[in-house]
Subunit: 323 residues, 4 copies
C-alpha cells in the first residue's frame, strides 16, 4: 500500500483514503446463502419472487446473505441490476443480518467503483473474485497489486473470493496470506475446496483477525474443523436449515451427528454445485417449494433426465417439499 498506489486508486475512483477501523470487527461466523437471482421466463428479474424467497429464508438462522456470488449469476447482470439487487435485498432483510455483495469486475478501476456502489447500496462487506481474462498476466504481483488497490479504495471491508472452477485461477496460500495483513481485507471465501490450503491459510493468519469461510457444503464441516469460521454455501439456498445445523452441531461439539448430516448432504450438494451447477440449484429450489425459475442464458434448463436426478437425490436424502 504505497502512497503512489493509493494515489492512483484515489484518482481512479474519486474517493478519499478511508478508515478501515470497523472492518475488522465484522464477524463472519455462521452460514450465508449466496442467494439465487430469480428470473421470469423473459429473463427479467423477478423481485416479487426474491421477496418470497427471502421471507422463507428469514426463518432460518443465517448469519446473513451473499448477493452476487456465482450462484447469483452476477456475470449476467448489468451494473445497474447488480446494485439494484443489493438495494432490494437490503430493504427486505432484518438489520441484524449481514449483507455481503460480490463486486468483482475485470479492471481495478471498475471493481473499486462497483465496490463502493455496493457499499452505498447497503453492503456490509464485498466479495472480490480475482480478475481472470488475461490469465497469463495474473501473476502474484499483479494479483497482489489488484487486491491491495481494491482494498485501499473500498469503503467496505473486502473478502477475497477464490473460485478456480470458474476463473481458471487458483489463488495460492502465499498470495492469500500476504493479502490478509491488509487492514481492509477481512477474510476469504474459498470455493476451491483444497482443505490443505484452508488449514495453511488459517494457520498463517492466526495472529490476524482474518476469517476463512467454506465456499461449499461439500467441505463445510472439515473446513470448520481446521479453523474456518463459517460457510457461504449454495446448498443453503435450498436446505438452509440443514446447513445451519451442520454449523451448529459443530459448535456444540456433537461431531458424530454433524458427520452424519454432512454425509447426508454431500450427494445432493454435489449435484447442485459441481455437477449440474446453477440450473440444478434453481430446479431444486422449485422442487422444494421456493422460487427457482429459469437461469439467464447461455445457462440452459436441465434436461428431464437431469431434473429427475436432482429430485431423486434430494428424495433419497430425505428432503422434499412436504418435509
Amino acid at each position: 500500500m504505497s502512497a503512489g498506489r493509493l494515489c492512483a486508486a484515489d484518482v481512479t475512483s474519486g474517493i478519499k483514503r478511508l478508515s478501515y477501523s470497523t472492518g475488522r470487527t465484522l464477524d463472519l461466523s455462521g452460514i450465508f446463502p449466496p442467494i439465487a437471482t430469480p428470473f421470469l421466463e423473459d429473463e427479467s428479474i423477478a423481485y416479487d419472487k426474491l421477496e418470497e424467497n427471502l421471507k422463507k429464508w428469514s426463518k432460518i438462522p443465517f448469519k446473513g446473505y451473499v448477493v452476487q456470488g456465482s450462484n447469483g449469476e452476477y456475470p449476467f447482470l448489468t451494473p445497474t441490476e447488480r446494485v439494484d439487487m443489493v438495494k432490494r435485498v437490503k430493504a427486505l432483510i432484518p438489520k441484524d443480518k449481514l449483507l455481503i455483495s460480490g463486486s468483482a469486475c475485470e479492471s481495478t478501476r471498475q471493481t473499486i467503483e462497483m465496490t463502493n456502489a455496493m457499499a452505498e447500496a447497503g453492503a456490509d462487506a464485498v466479495l472480490v473474485l480475482c480478475p481472470s481474462y488475461f490469465k497469463a498476466s495474473m501473476t502474484l504481483s499483479a494479483l497482489t497489486e489488484y487486491f491491495t488497490s481494491v482494498a485501499d479504495g473500498s469503503k467496505a471491508p473486502v473478502i477475497l473470493y477464490n473460485m478456480p472452477a470458474n476463473t481458471g485461477i487458483d489463488m495460492t496460500a502465499p498470495l492469500i496470506t500476504s493479502l490478509a495483513s491488509h487492514p481492509n481485507i477481512i477474510g476469504l471465501k474459498d470455493s476451491g475446496g483444497d482443505i490443505t490450503k484452508m488449514a495453511t491459510v488459517v494457520k498463517n493468519t492466526k495472529h490476524l483477525s482474518f476469517q476463512v469461510v467454506a465456499g461449499s457444503t461439500g467441505f463445510l464441516l472439515p473446513a470448520l474443523l481446521v479453523g474456518c469460521t463459517g460457510g457461504i454455501n449454495g446448498l443453503a439456498n435450498i436446505l438452509g436449515e440443514e446447513v445451519c445445523q451442520v454449523y451448529q452441531l459443530f459448535q456444540e461439539s456433537r461431531l458424530k451427528e454433524a458427520v452424519q448430516l454432512h454425509h447426508n448432504l454431500v450427494t445432493p450438494n454435489s449435484l447442485v454445485t459441481r455437477e449440474l451447477g446453477v440450473p440444478a440449484m434453481k430446479a431444486a429450489l422449485d422442487y422444494m417449494g421456493l422460487y427457482g425459475g429459469p437461469c439467464r442464458r447461455p445457462l440452459q434448463p436441465l434436461t428431464s433426465e437431469e431434473m429427475r436426478r436432482v429430485r431423486d437425490a434430494f428424495k433419497a436424502a430425505g428432503y422434499g417439499p412436504n418435509k
Copy 2:
C-alpha cells in the same frame, strides 16, 4: 434455430428477425490488426493517440481493423466506452476498410444487445467470444444455443472467436463446423493455434462460404497454407507492413521468402502475445514510434528486464524505430 429460440431472442433484444443476405459477401481475406486501446497515465482513453496510431496504420495495406479483440483490453472498458471506441474508429478509417468489433458479454441477451449497438456504431461484423464464467455448464448444446441465438439476433454478420488461453474453453471442430452452417455466422478467428483443427474446419466447411482467420502471426503462414483466408494478429499493431507481407508473399506463391519472414517474426511475436501479453505489445508500440502507453490495471507495466527483452527481440530481428 427453432422459432421458439428465435422468439426468445426477439423478446430479449427487442428486434425483429433479420435478413442475413449481405453477411455472406463480407470478404475476410487479408490482415487485420486487433488494435490496442490507448490509455493515458490516469487510464482514461487517449482518443488523440488512437487517431495518431490510425494515421500511421493507414499507410499499411490492411484489409480492415478489429476493435476490441483481447489486445484491445475490452474486458476493461465500460459498455459505453466499448461502443464509443467503435464510433471513433469508424469515423477515422477510410470507407473501404472493414471494421470488425468484439461484442461478447457473458449473457446471451447482453451479447445480442452489444452486438447490435456495435452494428449501429458502424461495425461491419462482430467477433463473438464464447462465454466462459460458468465453464462446466458451457456444454456443446449450451454453446450451440448461445451462438445460434446471437447470430439470429445480430444485425451484423458474426465471426466466432476462439481464445482458449483467456477463456479456458477450447471450441471444438464439431461445434465450429455445426455453427458454420448458420447464415449469419461467416467465419472463425482462431487464437488457439491448433493447426490440425484449423485444417479440419476449413475442410469441413468447404461447401459454405465460411472463412477461418489466424489469430496470431505465430501460425499465420501455416494457417494460410491449410486454407485460412487471413489473419487478425496482435503483431500487426507493431509490424503491420511485415505481417501483410507474409500474406502477400503467400498469395504470390513466394513461399521461401514467406517462410524466411515467418521465422524472423516468430520470436518477437511470441514475446508480445503468449509470453508477456498486452503490456509487451504496448511497450513494443512505444519502442517502434507508435503510441503504446499503459494498460488498464490489473495489467502491470513491464519490468525493466522485460522491457529490455522486448526491445532486444525486435532489434535482433532487425526491427526498430529508425527502420
Copy 3:
C-alpha cells in the same frame, strides 16, 4: 467380473480364481509411512540404510509400512528391485505390522504379475495406481475393466491408489464406488486431497467394509473426521510419532489438540510433498537423523536455498535432530 474376463486374467497370469475371503478382514486403521527407498551416491539401493531406518521407525506405533508408493521412487526401480525391496522389508519388520506394496505397471497383465510377485514376497495387500500413459483412453469402462481384472487375478487384497498429481488422472467417486463392491478391493488411498470426494466415497461405501485412507498429512485430520480410517503419509517417514499422534488424538476425541498439531505439521508437510517432493523428503530425513540420501535421477538434489527452506520449516515448527 464376467467369466470371460476372469478367463483372460487366468491365461495372462497363469493363476486360478482365488478366494478373497480373508481380504475383507484386513484392517487399515492407523498410520503407514510410504517408506523412502534409500540409495547410495551411485544410486544403488542401500539396504543397510533401509535397515537402520526401519529400526528407528520400529519405535513408532505405525500400523504397518507401504513399500513403493510414490515416495518409494518405485518407477525408478527394476521389477527385480521392486520385489527385492518387499522381501527385505518383510524380513525386517515385526509380524504384527502390515506390509502394503505398490504393484502398479502400465499393462493389466504386468500389474497382475507384479501383484502376485509382491504377494509371494510377503505383501499383505497391494496398492494399485491407475495406468496413465494413454490418458485419453483411460475411460470409466477401461479403468473399471482394469481394476476388476487386477483384483480378479490378485492373490492379495487390492487397495486403489489415486494420485492425480503424478498420473494426470483423477479417479472419480462413481468409479471408486463401483469398484468398492469387488470382494478383493478393500480400500482406497487418496492422494488427490479432495475432501468432498473422500466423504462421498465413505458415504457411498458404508454398507461395505471398504476403507479410505488419506494420502497426505495435509488432509489426514479432516479425512478422519469424514470417515477415513487412517493415513499413508509421506511425512510419517520423518515425523512418524507426530503423525501417529494426530491419529491418536482424533481417536480419543481430543480435537483441539489434534487441530493444533495438524496446523503445526501443515507447512513442513507441504514442503516435502507438493512443493519440493521426494528430494525434500529425503533431505528432511537426513536433517532429522534418519537416512535420506540422494534420489535416483532425473530427480535432482535440492539447491542449497531449497535445503535451507526445508530445515527452516521443520525448525520453525519445533522439529529438529535433537528433539
Copy 4:
C-alpha cells in the same frame, strides 16, 4: 555436460564416453511409421503378423521405421520384449531403411541402459520421451540434466520426443533449443502439434544440423512448410503411401495437391490418433487388410459404434481394402 555428470553416467551404464561424430549425419528427412506391435488374442506378440505387415510396408517409400513410439504400446512391453522387437524388425527390413527405437524409461540410469541395449539390437537412433511420473519435479534443469546425461551415455544418436497428451509435460522451445546443441542430440519428434513452437525451434537451431519431425499427419504439411524435415506419423501404418505422397508433393512444390491430400487425410487421422487412439489405429489396419489385432489391456477394443465411425471415415475419404 560436466565431467562429474558424465562420470555418473559412466558408472551407471558401464560405458565409456562415446564419439558422436556419426550421429549428426543421420538424415531424418522423409516419413517413418511408428509401427504397431501386433498381438494375438492372448496378448502375446505376433511376430509372424509383424513380418506380414513389414512385407506390405516394404513397398512404400518410407525413410525407415520407428519401433516403440506410443503407437507401439511400448509401456506395455517388458524390457526384454522391447529389445526383441527391435532385433526382429532390424532383421526384417532392408539395410537402407533407418530403424529408430523408443528407449525411454522413467529413470536416467534405466533409459541409458535401454538406449544402449537398443543400439546393440540394431537401432540407428533412439527416441527419448521425457520422464513424467514426478511431474512437479520435472523442472527445466531436471529435464536438461536428464537428456544431457542420456545423450552423454548413449551409443546411438538421440531424438527428443515431446508427447504432452501422454506425459502431461510439454517440452518448451527454450529447453529443446538448449538441448539441440548437444552433439549427440540430433532431432525432435514433436507430437504436441504446436506449429508456432516447431517454427521457433527450427529457426533457433538453424545453425545446427538439428532436425524436427512432425509427430502426426494432422500437422505434417504445415510442419514441412516451416522447416521440419519429415514425419513420424501413426497414420503411415495405415495409409503409408498417402502420407509419403504428402511429403513428396511438398518436395516437388506441388502445394495445391499437397493441401488437397492433407485435407483428405485430416479426419481419418484424427480418429486413429487423438480421438480413439491406438485401438482405432489397429482397427483401421484390420480394415485396410494389414494386421491390427487387439491391444494389450487396459486399452479396450473399440465398441461397434466406434468401429463403424472408423470405417466410415476411411470410406468417406476414399480409402478401403480394395483400393
